[in-house]
């Protein structure tokens, strides 16, 4: 049902560290690999080997340049479903296919009852839901619901595929409803934040900000390379001319 459950005590979610993410897209490809054969049925691609290849992915990694000049930095930014506490994608659903689990707060789409009206994707500010053009239904992050409770897996594998794949440990999985959990402690310690909190959907997933630069004072104010000055000799003038010509 698309009515939201009472606020859940268990709030499973991800904590994503923007300081350590290197933008390798391993989380995105690993997610695609796991979920194309998992709960949400195949994540299909269209025109995969043609001029306009695209398909449903549940995780996308943006790279941004933040700040100006020498003080700017590159921040890699994975974006997926935030499993909001009050998700509009669930309440707008006309069929009840979109729902939030009362037991752990995971937001899911029932692939057997979704009619593919796409309204949930309009309601989500985070672009978390992608339409599957072949299947005619909406696809979204399941928080690897088919991994995290899977007792046939070794305990260290009972985490979402994206978290398992991350080579830099930038992704953390846990219960954000439990203040004593490792993820909650991490969010507290690193001052984790919500995306677009003013939208009011109360995301469960948190992002950890990049740490301040340690070399803040070492940022050079002058360009490192000075133009070659001519002192008069023929060789000098030749190299000065070559420098100017090559700098053009």
């Amino acid at each position: 049902m698309t009515a939201l459950p009472e606020p859940t005590t268990k709030k499973l979610g991800l904590v994503i560290d923007l300081d350590t993410c290197v933008g390798c897209h391993a989380c995105a490809t690993s997610c695609k690999e796991w979920n194309t054969s998992g709960y949400p049925k195949p994540l299909t691609d269209q025109d995969a080997h043609g001029a306009d290849p695209h398909g449903s992915w549940l995780n996308r990694v943006h790279s941004y340049e933040v700040g100006q000049g020498a003080a700017s930095r590159t921040v890699h930014f994975p974006r997926s479903c935030l499993h909001c506490e009050t998700p509009a994608c669930v309440t707008v659903c006309p069929t009840g296919a979109s729902y939030k689990r009362a037991s752990d707060g995971i937001v899911l789409v029932n692939p057997d009852t979704c009619i593919g009206c796409k309204l949930c994707s309009w309601a989500c500010p985070y672009g978390a839901r992608e339409y599957d053009y072949d299947d005619g239904t909406m696809k979204k992050c399941t928080l690897c619901v088919d991994r995290i409770y899977n007792e046939t897996f070794a305990p260290e594998d009972r985490i979402p595929a994206c978290v398992r794949a991350c080579p830099t440990g930038a992704r953390h999985f846990g219960d954000l409803g439990d203040p004593s959990s490792a993820v909650s402690q991490l969010v507290k310690e690193r001052e984790g934040f919500d995306l677009l909190p003013e939208m009011g959907f109360k995301p469960v997933n948190k992002y950890l900000p990049p740490r301040p630069r340690r070399d803040q004072n070492a940022i050079p104010t002058q360009p490192a390379e000075q133009p070659v000055a001519s002192t008069g000799s023929i060789a000098d003038r030749f190299f000065a001319w070559a420098d100017r010509a090559l700098s053009r």
């Binding site: 449903s56 943006h62 340049e65 933040v66 006309p94 009619i115 985070y126 995306l195 990049p210």
Partner: protein, 317 residues
Amino acid sequence: MHPAYSVIIFTTASGAGYGLLIGLAVSVLLGIVPRDPTFGFFALGTAVALITIGLLTSTFHLGRPGRAWRAVTQVGTSWLSREGVAALVTYLPIAALGLGWVFGEYEPGQIIVGALLSIVGALVTVWCTGRIYSSLPTIRAWHQRLVAPVYLMLAFVTGSVLLDFFLIVFGYPFWGAAAITALLLALGCDLKMRYWAKIDSDDRTYTAEAATGLGRFGTVRPLDPPHTQPNYVMREMGYQVARRHARKLRKIALLLLFVLPLACIAALLALELPHTADVAIAALMMLSAAAGVLIERWLFFAEAEHVVMVFYRGGAA
């Protein structure tokens, strides 16, 4: 937002159908139109056809049209579900009104009750259509107080134009109805212009800096995109219409939807013309309004920007 033809045709056709239904129901309640079965068959039949074509077209927007029946189950939370239920329930009073009008009343008062409930059903359905859009805070141009009233007003306008056409074709007195149409056209034009002024002057409050939470480090500029080709999100939510084209199309929409029909009404009311000329002018008015409302609805989608695009393009939405 991607202007899907199925949704444009659905909202304009069913809007005009419900508008005509309201016009006919009000007229029959006030005794303005005679209870002529032929007139009832063609006029109400057109309203029902427009509503039904619209509803059927809306299912083409679905990935799984065969499951469309499931969409009536979540009236507690979903405006789309409410719209579906209201649309289906409204067929009952339409049937009472239409069958009573065309074949004669089985029960005394059938037409009156059917007309009254048809009006309520039509108002509720069109209001729900508008609320589907205005309830989405992610799309600034839609999350506006004026959106649902504009949907209602344009249903009145297009329905009223259709009603005038049928009155003229059947040779009934149309001066009162035409004067009301003129009033609705003027009010509708004012409302739509106020809507455009509002979305043009509104602040763009959602920035890439806020969306990524990285504003504390300075401006946020997209460097590498997450994928090389547009994905569903960009195809659906990233539609962009050139600003100068939008300006021109707004003028064309105003001209076709309001100005030309007003001129037609002025001609109909002021000039003593032969019946065929009146019919031709009414047909022109109808076609002009239809083209105008299609452009208006296309713009409603094409001009609307979704907040998710700040992740892709930076800037503000």
